[in-house]
């Protein structure tokens, strides 16, 4: 108990130490203020934004776009994945083509999206959805194809209908793979949200970074990076907690 508290304290102290050394490097003139902002200045900016409300509106704008795109991606991926993963014919005809697209960088679709939608929110949502659906789709298909033969035979012995099989056996069996796919797709969705914001100058955390760079405000830049870091951390934790609740049987 005491050891755990000591270790936790040491971790906090070390983190603070990093900030202190960083601040000292700026104050002493060792590192140029234009390129590397002092942590205190960055935190000042964050506090200011929190006070005047822009922090929340900007974060909300990014979060909204991220979630819209990601949820669309997950929905489409699950529907498609369930159909392809549970039908041997569909799997044989479609999986090789789908696997072909796996190594394609998700951001490569941005120019195509800009062509179709211009520099708009629609473009951003499309790119996020398109990019984020592949990890979930491919891992869902893999999960469905990997249902143990014995379980499939138990299902046919019990004369389960296809739909019942999918919900009672296939999806829970594939859930481990699907969860892994969800984690990857969420990080990818965040990256694509930031990228498309920068590309299309859409209001949000990503765009703020670009603005800061253009106006040479390094404190704003570092503030933006910190905010993004916290935001990214929080959404990943949210997914992790959800996963833990749903997959309690795995930890047993």
């Amino acid at each position: 108990m005491i050891r755990a508290t000591c270790r936790a304290l040491a971790a906090i102290l070390f983190t603070l130490l990093v900030f202190v050394v960083w601040q000292a490097a700026i104050d002493s003139g060792l590192v140029n203020r234009i390129f590397v902002a002092a942590p205190l200045s960055a935190i000042d900016v964050i506090a200011e934004r929190a006070a005047n409300g822009t922090l929340w509106t900007t974060t909300a704008a990014t979060a909204q776009r991220l979630l819209a795109g990601w949820i669309a991606a997950v929905g489409i991926a699950m529907l498609l994945g369930t159909a392809v993963g549970n039908s041997r014919a569909a799997h044989q005809y479609l999986s090789p083509t789908l696997e072909f697209f796996r190594p394609l960088p998700a951001s490569a679709v941005i120019p195509v999206a800009v062509l179709f939608f211009g520099l708009t929110t629609k473009m951003s949502t499309f790119v996020i959805a398109f990019g984020a659906l592949w990890p979930v789709l491919l891992s869902a298909i893999h999960g469905f194809v990997s249902v143990p033969r014995e379980l499939r035979e138990v299902a046919s012995t019990l004369e389960m209908g296809r739909l019942r099989y999918i919900f009672t056996i296939a999806i829970p069996s594939a859930s481990v793979d699907i969860m892994a796919g969800l984690r990857i797709s969420l990080s990818l969705a965040l990256i694509l949200t930031v990228v498309t914001e920068m590309q299309a100058s859409l209001p949000g955390l990503g765009y703020e970074l670009f603005l800061a760079q253009r106006t040479y405000r390094s404190a704003d830049l570092y503030a933006g990076l910190m905010t993004l870091g916290v935001f990214g951390f929080l959404i990943n934790q949210a997914l992790l907690l959800t996963e833990r609740r749903l997959m309690r049987w795995k930890l047993a």
Partner: protein, 265 residues
């Protein structure tokens, strides 16, 4: 007089296997797993099929279950040819870790067949409770399969198949992956359940002693190609006991007789 009449009543065959064979490939690469296998399974009979690996005994079982089709010949179940798996032919797999639903508790696993059949919640509860107590699983009811030993997991599989109310239970070397002590315990539990419920069982094993211990009759399969070498009735008293039965002179004689048959092929 009455007893005599009952003894004379003709046995009902629930399964009739007629000249069944299984082969893969064609021409030079044709591999015959087994050929020209015929036998009957009587209602209420505990039939053991024994043979070394490669004789196709698992394939044969799966054909009776409807999971595979024979290359030629026919399997008839309850007077009708088998076309697909059905609820009344329960199957217990050797690899219990893959045959149970890891995300459901023991209760949940056993309840599965009842749920599919559309039974009411209260009926499910009472049936599951009864089966769990019959198989010694009450204490583990709320546990997940991963938390149980191999023997316990296999009991869950057995309980689940009983929940189906099958007409026949097909078991594919169910105790093969268990240690000797657990195996003996499960053998006795199984034979007790079989007696109580007048179950019809087809039990596959490579262990000759197990086959003689459990079965009312034993079929010996040879391999390369698979074929029936011998079919005998095991006229030993029930209930059978691990020590006494295995020392019984009839048991030992049968063991001698069949041992040579398996080893030779």
């Amino acid at each position: 007089m009455g007893l005599h009449a009952v003894a004379q009543a003709p046995a009902i065959n629930i399964v009739e296997v007629r000249q069944v064979s299984m082969a893969f490939g064609a021409g030079l690469s044709r591999h015959v797993v087994f050929e020209d296998i015929s036998f009957d399974v009587e209602l209420g009979e505990f039939l053991c099929i024994v043979g070394s690996s490669g004789c196709g005994k698992t394939t044969l079982l799966r054909q009776i279950a409807g999971l595979q089709k024979p290359t030629s010949g026919s399997v008839v179940f309850n007077g009708e040819p088998i076309t697909r798996p059905t609820q009344d032919k329960a199957i217990v797999f050797q690899d219990y870790s893959k045959a149970l639903l890891p995300w459901r508790t023991v209760e949940g696993n056993v309840a599965l067949s009842l749920e599919v059949a559309g039974a009411s919640a209260s009926l499910i509860k009472s049936e599951v409770d009864e089966l769990l107590s019959k198989t010694g699983l009450q204490a583990a009811a709320k546990k997940y399969p991963a938390q149980l030993s191999g023997g316990m997991q296999q009991r869950v599989q057995i309980a689940r198949s009983l929940a189906q109310r099958p007409k026949i239970i097909l078991m594919d070397e169910p105790f093969g992956a268990l240690d000797a002590i657990t195996r003996q315990a499960l053998q006795d539990e199984l034979q007790m359940l079989a007696r109580e419920r007048s179950m019809t069982v087809v039990f596959i094993t490579h262990d000759l002693e197990e086959a003689l211990y459990l079965g009312d009759s034993v079929i010996v399969l040879a391999s390369n190609p698979g074929r029936i070498v011998k079919q005998i009735d095991v006229n030993l008293e029930r209930p059978r006991r691990q020590l006494e039965t295995r020392e019984n002179s009839t048991f030992l004689r049968l063991r001698h007789e069949l041992h040579g048959l398996i080893g030779r092929h």
